[in-house]
Amino acid sequence: MGAIYTGSGYWSVGWWILFAALALAMTIYFRSLGRGDYKVGTEQEEFFNAGHPVPEDPREYRFPAASTYWGFTRALSRYYDFLFAFHTGFLQDYVALTAGVLALFGVLALLV
């Protein structure tokens, strides 16, 4: 397997597959040991839905894409407010930004 040297280390896909197979074998081994304190018919069998109430019908158990990473976007809400204000969907903003970057780069080039 060909190794790639990056100057400060190397990457070889063969070694990686070897280690991944080793890790997989260990995982399967540990998993096969089972869990002794698991008891059928107690609260250990109940669902946990990230703190949300668990619906009665399992068909309704859904986590829609729109609320994925809700906390992440909430934490960065000021950054996202700016970003959405920036993406106006307005054609003339597109052209103006392109022309602006061209002009800025032209001025920089003339100064060098």
């Binding site: 106006t88 969907g89 307005f90 003339q92 052209v95």
Partner: protein, 114 residues
């Protein structure tokens, strides 16, 4: 001074076109602005190749030493062809946009954002 006048005309035409694209709200005027910008590019190429007092760059008519450069004229013709294709496509897109949105105001054609 007069030698650089064509370049001033190129710049003025170009800025007029850019102004139309940036500040007019009617889609047809935006399409016209792009055509004006294309015209300024074509004028620029033709002016580049011009030699004052030069002859016609046709082989069988070449009687003088100085000739107008033929290459920029070929470039201009190609650019005109491309400009025609772009303009035709742009106008048909404008027609379709009017059909779907019922308006020619670019500020109201912005369902895609964010």
């Amino acid at each position: 001074m007069t030698g650089s006048m064509p370049y001033v005309a190129v710049a003025v035409l170009f800025l007029c076109g850019l102004y139309m694209v940036l500040f007019e709200h009617n889609l047809f005027k935006i399409a016209l602005g792009i055509t004006v910008m294309e015209a300024s590019a074509n004028l620029f190429l033709v002016v580049l190749g011009y030699r004052s007092g030069g002859g016609i760059p046709v082989y069988t008519l070449a009687s003088r030493e100085a000739m107008v450069l033929p290459t920029p004229q070929a470039l201009t013709l190609t650019a005109i062809v491309i400009g025609l294709a772009t303009t035709a496509l742009l106008l048909s897109l404008v027609v379709w946009a009017y059909r779907h949105y019922g308006t020619l105001d670019i500020q109201q054609i912005r369902r895609l954002r964010g």
